[in-house]
C-alpha cells in the first residue's frame, strides 16, 4: 500500500520474498507435507497468495489452530442459551457471532432481543460489568494460549474491583496436545510443523522438543508475514531434507524459548488443565484450560444452569478432516456450492482464520470455478 505500514513492510518485501523463494527452490528435492498449525498463518498464506509461489514439492496443510473452528458445539449452544437471558449482556470477539450452534447463532440471538456485544478485549467486558451493576456480564473466553492471559487478567481485574456480575464462559485450548493428537493419528500425513508464533510468544517453545523427538518431525516457530512464513518453511524444508527433527525458532524478534513468564503466571493463577472437546476432532485429554477452584465463581457454566445442554454434531461436511490436515477445502463437495462464508456448513468456513474461508476468499479462481 502506498503509505506503507512501517511495522510490517520489511516482512512483506517482494525482493526478500523472491530471495527466500529462490533458496527454497534450491533446497527442496523431495515432496514434503508441512502443517501450519495456526489459522492466522493459514489466513496470511492465502491473503498474500504465498501458497501459489511455493515449489510444487511443498504441500502446506492447514492445522486446527482456528479458535472459532474448534470451539465445540456444546459450548456454543451454552453461549446461545446464556446470551438469550434478559439479565445478561453477552460479550464476544466478533468472529464468534457467526458460528452456528445447533439451531441458531449469536446474530440470531441479538436479532431477537438478546444483548450481544462485540468487544475488542475482555477488559472491555469488565468495564461493562462496572457500568451495569444490575446486569450479568458474560465474556466468551475462547482461543489458544494467545488469548488466555488477557482473559485470565479480566478475571483478576473483576476480583480486584469486587465485581460479582462478571463471569467467563471458558473454551480455552492448548496447542501441544493437539499436535500430539494429529501426529498420533494413523492417518497423519504431517512431516513437519510451523509452530504458531504468537502462541509461542506467550508460552515459549520448551514444550516442543519431546514432540519433535517422539514423532521425528521438525518444528519451526514461525511468524505471520510473508517473509516470516517463508523463513519458517525454508528452515523446516532444510531439516526435512537433512533428516533432522529439531525445534528451531524462525521468529526470534518475538519469541524466546521461555516465552512470556508474566503471561504464563496469569494463566497459572486462574486456569487449570482439563480435557477439552475440539469441534471436528473430538476429545483431546489435557488439551484445555478451565477456571481453577479458587476462581470457580467467575465460571459462567457454574453461574448459569447450562449443564443439561448437551449436543452432538450432525455429519455433513469434512470439517474434521480439514482441521486435522487430512483433506483440503477443495476436496469437499459442499465447498463453494452449498457451503459459503455467508451460509457456512462448517466452522472452517465461518471464521476469517478458518481454512475453508481462506480458500473461498483468496484461492485461485480457476480452481474454484470448476
Amino acid at each position: 500500500m502506498s503509505d506503507g505500514f512501517p511495522l510490517a513492510d520489511g516482512y512483506r518485501d517482494p525482493t526478500l520474498v523472491a530471495t527466500l523463494l529462490a533458496q527454497l527452490h534450491v533446497s527442496v528435492t523431495h515432496p514434503w507435507v508441512i502443517m501450519e498449525i495456526c489459522g492466522g498463518q493459514t489466513h496470511a498464506i492465502m491473503q498474500s497468495g504465498l501458497d501459489q509461489l511455493l515449489p510444487p514439492q511443498i504441500e502446506l496443510v492447514h492445522g486446527p489452530g482456528c479458535p472459532v473452528c474448534v470451539t465445540p458445539l456444546e459450548l456454543i449452544d451454552k453461549a446461545l442459551d446464556i446470551a438469550s437471558r434478559p439479565e445478561v449482556i453477552f460479550c464476544s470477539f466478533g468472529d464468534m457471532l457467526r458460528v452456528p450452534g445447533s439451531s441458531r447463532d449469536l446474530f440470531s440471538v441479538r436479532a431477537s432481543g438478546g444483548q450481544v456485544r462485540v468487544v475488542y478485549s475482555p477488559l472491555d467486558a469488565v468495564r461493562l460489568a462496572q457500568q451495569n451493576p444490575d446486569k450479568q456480564i458474560v465474556f466468551f473466553a475462547i482461543g489458544f494460549e494467545t488469548t488466555a492471559p488477557a482473559n485470565a487478567a479480566s478475571v483478576l481485574q473483576a476480583e480486584a474491583l469486587g465485581l460479582t456480575n462478571y463471569s467467563i464462559l471458558v473454551s480455552h485450548v492448548r496447542v501441544p496436545p493437539a499436535m500430539h493428537a494429529i501426529l498420533g493419528s494413523p492417518q497423519s500425513r504431517v512431516q513437519g510443523f510451523l509452530a504458531a508464533g504468537h502462541v509461542c510468544a506467550v508460552m515459549g517453545y520448551w514444550e516442543y522438543p519431546p514432540i519433535a523427538e517422539k514423532y521425528h518431525v521438525p518444528i519451526v516457530v514461525t511468524g505471520f508475514e510473508p517473509v516470516d512464513l517463508l523463513r519458517g518453511i525454508l528452515m523446516t524444508v532444510k531439516q526435512l531434507e537433512a533428516g533432522t527433527s529439531e525445534v528451531e525458532n524462525a521468529y526470534p524478534r518475538l519469541v524466546t524459548r521461555e516465552g512470556n513468564p508474566a503471561a504464563q503466571a496469569l494463566i497459572q493463577r486462574v486456569f487449570e488443565p482439563c480435557d477439552r472437546s475440539w469441534r471436528g476432532i473430538g476429545n483431546i485429554p489435557g488439551s484445555g484450560w478451565k477456571l481453577n477452584h479458587a476462581y470457580a465463581q467467575y465460571d459462567a457454566e457454574n453461574k448459569f444452569d447450562v449443564a443439561s445442554i448437551q449436543t452432538r454434531e450432525s455429519e455433513i461436511c469434512i470439517a474434521g478432516d480439514i482441521l486435522q490436515g487430512l483433506k483440503k477445502p477443495l476436496d469437499c463437495q459442499a465447498f463453494g456450492r452449498q457451503c459459503t462464508p455467508q451460509n457456512p456448513l462448517g466452522a472452517p468456513m465461518v471464521s476469517s482464520e478458518g481454512a475453508c474461508s481462506a480458500y473461498f476468499r483468496f484461492h485461485n479462481p480457476m480452481e474454484i470455478s470448476q
Partner: protein, 358 residues
Amino acid sequence: MTTSPLPPLEGPVCPLPLRHDQTVVMGHGSGGRMTHELIQNTFLPHLSSPWNTGNDFAALPLSQESNVPAGLVVSTDSHIVSPLFFPGGDIGRLAVCGTVNDISMSGATPLYLTAGFILEEGLPISMLEKILASMKIAADEAGVQVVAGDTKVVEKGKGDGIFITTTGVGLKDPRYHPAGQSAVPGDVVLISGALGDHAMAVLSARGDLGFETNIQSDVAPLNSMIHELLSAAPHTHVLRDPTRGGLATSLNEIAAQSKVNITIFEKDIPVHTPVQAVCEMLGFDPLYAANEGKLIVIVPPDEADAALASLRSHPYGREARMIGEVLPNPKNRVLLKTRIGSSRILDMLAGEMLPRIC
C-alpha cells in the same frame, strides 16, 4: 506437556447450515453479499421497475409513455451512524453527501434534495441545530438545495438520536453515460484517494478501541470533482463510490454488472498509515472498509492519464492512483495481484465486518 494416551478421532462432523433468511440481522445492512441477497430475494419480487438497473440511482423518462431516460436522475439514501459526530464529519454532512454522490455517479448534476428526519425523544435541540447547520454547509458546497422535508419523533429508546433519509434529483448531461454495466476489457481502474478513512474514523470515535487516532472521515460531496473529471475524460465508463462494503464490494458489483474481470494491484492501492495500523491491529481489511468521499473511475485507456490528472487537480482527489485494469476473464470476478507477486480472489464482503480474535 501432556503424555496422555491419544484420543480416538471422531471423524467428520459439522453443524447444520444456518441461513439468515427468516429474520433481519445486522449483516443485511453491511452493503455486502447479504444486502444484495436481501434486495434480490425480498425487495425486488415486490418492488421492481425496468428503470432499476442495479445502480445506486435511477435515470428516468420525463413521461410515463416514454421509454427513453430523458435526463432525470433520482436516488435515495438513509443514514444511521453512531456516534452522530465523528472526526471529519457528522450525520448531517453524511446525509447530504451520500445522496449527492449517488446522483453524481450517473454523471448527472445533483440539484435538489428532500430530507426525512426520524428524531428520538430526548435529542437536544442544540444537537439537531448543529446537524442541520452541517447539512446546510454540505448542501452549499455541493450546490444543491434542500427543498422539502419531513419530521417524525419516536419514543426514547426506539431510535439512535436521529436517522436521516435524503432523496435527490439531478439532471443528466446527455454527453456522459457512466454506469456500472459499462466497463469493458482494456479499461483502466482509478481510485480518487486512500481507503478506509471514514470507517476507521467512526470506529475510533466510538471510543472503544482503547487507543486514540487522528484519522478523519473523508465524507465529502464529489459532484464538483466528477464534473471536472467528465470534462477531461468524457468517455468515462463507470463511476462508483465505494461506501459500505468498501472497494472490494464495489468492484465486485461492477465486475458482475459488466460481466468482466477486474484486476487490481495491492502495491498501488492507497491506504493512510494510521488506517492500515488500526486495520492490522483489529483484523480488518481496508479493502472492505467504508468510504464516504472516494470515487472509483473506470475509463478507456486513452483517457486514463487525463482522468488521473483531473482527479489529482481537485482537493478531494489529490491522492488519486491507477490501481488496476479490466480484463475479459475470469468474468464476474475481482482479482488482487498481491505485493509479493501472487494473485488471489477479492470477494465481496460476506456479512458484517467483524474484528478477528487474535
